[in-house]
Symmetry: C2
Subunit: 354 residues, 2 copies
């Protein structure tokens, strides 16, 4: 297989974790006879420093012409602390999502037995947790009409959804469910909201096309409880933009470390793969950041290419490092390994050297 | 003190748990020289069975003429399972909230060391957790304009807030914070929503009137994480209707038992006190339901009357039963005590007989 990958290293720890993913992808290419062509491009504070623009046109072009985008992280405190800054690193990512029409954000939630001590939840709650959240990313109240009156006595936000917006992310979620444990849970608030009732109606109408998938429905307030009380009940969770923002962040903490969580944002054409952690500038350049979020994002990228066997081997490599206590400082502040060492180990695992 | 209390026993376990609260309130009255006059009235399935109406006018009238309302629970499966039912028990409560303009829902979240084994969270997370959530209850997206087009291809919900709606619940929350640990956290999504920016603006403007209260702001997705990771950071949490629905339900499970959580819904005139658990019809009439949610709601009712010392004694009675393992079947399925026994014990504690 021959694929073009746009690489956006970004800011803070972005470059060093993404380099580990490239190491691992190179090992995959060599071991399984693929060719991955990388094109580095700029976004975020790095791009502002070099070009004045958080998302240069060239980056958009490279991304549009690539089969996938591997992205690190963006953000720098010098912009966060300046309320008058006219350009901000985050604008780059928002604009890129829009340019590529990335309508679905996908976040797997997995727990590892050897990391249970880091989770706020008890071990009993964590066993067998393995689910994936599909969040609609370009519609809903975040992008609706919104206004505050001049006297600042009244404000409104509109949440709207079209059938088409719901269908495209729903098809994706159903397809994933078919490849997994064949269960899809729609999280909504259909007892109160018209948009939720439309979501429910569309899902019910699509369900017969995926007759091997069991569909159920959960109100978002109940979902917020169930994610803590009984997270293993979930397989594929599908929800609208704002509910997805809330429950995917809630779910992210149950694994015990944000450092090892990957994500994908998928559109009709391209797809972007990134760890959920931020640029964490305090750790930048120290070779101490956790590269697993990025490496597991690279595994999702391989899945996106249909290279499921290769993705699985990468995931096994990640598990092997965790189970053998080859972990970074965020996981074990005493006996820790460097970012680059973890990358080497997983590349070696893929190359059958371990 | 001489007070009129409307009593709505309701459905399922509602009557038996509420009877324990009345026992305790009677003990308080006797011990501290108050007079509480109870007027029983109908709501829910019970009211439908007896009058055909889930909220008879007489109930509204009694409630409007009372200083507070003590309420059990409503709901019966015979209505849940009938999609054609024209009257439903829940309509009674929604109409009562509206009639009394109960604009603030107040939910304390407390953990008890001896119940830590029931929580999905680790003991470390549970220590010193003691916060209270103020949820705006009559505005926002739940009550906004909402519509689906005829072709069912498009739907919208409008979320709106006026300055006045925000101010009245904010004043309440600030006043509670002053009597507590003097910290107020506004949960919003001000990086995205106009209504959230109005909430933030109003809170910032009110803050100087409560200069002893430290105010901070948290995005709702972050709040959903913090409630699990570090719940003891919170004192008073204030938020709009939908965010409040989600995070108060999420927070409710950390104590380990829904059976012991109280709530209050406060308006300009009256106030309603009820356990957060439902009517739980399977347990009705068996004397096994947990009365602590109701008894702690009665303690909130005493606070509402300004009887803080009395409320405190009731809470100490509750703690005494828990710490001495006088608990109902939901807490200890093997060595359990009856609903009525717990009520007797707490009444005896208040009467200094224990
Ligand atoms: Mg978020
Ligand atoms: Mg709720």
């Amino acid at each position: 297989m021959n694929k073009k990958i746009a690489v956006i290293l970004g800011d803070g720890i972005g470059p060093e974790v993404t380099q580990q993913s490239i190491k691992v992808l190179d090992a995959v290419a060599k071991q399984y006879g693929h060719e991955f062509h990388y094109t580095e491009c700029l976004m975020g504070a790095d791009a502002i420093d070099k070009t004045g623009n958080p998302l240069p046109d060239e980056t958009i072009e490279v991304c549009l012409n690539s089969d996938a985008i591997l992205f690190g992280a963006i953000g720098h405190p010098k912009y966060d602390n300046d309320p008058n800054a006219k350009v901000r690193p985050e604008q780059g990512l928002l604009k890129l999502r829009k340019s590529l029409q990335l309508f679905a954000n996908i976040r797997p939630v997995i727990t590892y037995p050897s990391l249970q001590h880091l989770s706020p939840l008890k071990a009993k709650q964590l066993e067998e947790v393995d689910f994936i959240i599909f969040r609609e990313l370009t519609g809903g109240i975040y992008f609706g009409k919104k206004e505050t009156n001049e006297e600042k006595t009244y404000a409104f936000d509109e949440c709207s959804y079209s059938r088409e917006e719901i269908e495209r992310v729903a098809h994706l979620a159903f397809q994933y469910a078919q490849k997994r444990r064949k269960k899809l849970t729609l999280v909504d608030k259909a007892n109160v909201l018209e948009t939720s009732r439309l979501w429910r109606k569309v899902i019910q109408e699509l369900a017969p096309q995926y007759s091997d998938v069991a569909v159920d429905f959960l109100f978002v307030d109940n979902a917020a409880m169930q994610i803590i009380v009984n997270p293993k009940q979930f397989d594929v969770v599908l929800t609208e933009n704002m509910f997805g923002d809330i429950i995917s962040d809630e779910a992210s903490v149950i694994s015990g470390s944000l450092g090892l969580l990957p994500s994908a944002s998928v559109g009709n054409g391209s797809a972007l793969f990134e760890p959920i952690h931020g640029s964490y500038p305090q750790a930048a350049g120290k070779d101490i950041a956790n590269p697993l979020g990025s490496i597991l994002s690279a595994a999702m990228l391989l899945d996106h290419f249909g290279l499921n066997k290769e993705a699985q081997v990468v995931r096994e490599g990640v598990e092997w490092t965790i189970n053998n206590k080859f972990v970074t400082k965020d996981i074990d502040p005493v006996n820790f390994y460097f970012t680059s060492t973890i990358g080497d180990l997983i590349a070696d695992f893929v190359s059958n050297k371990i």
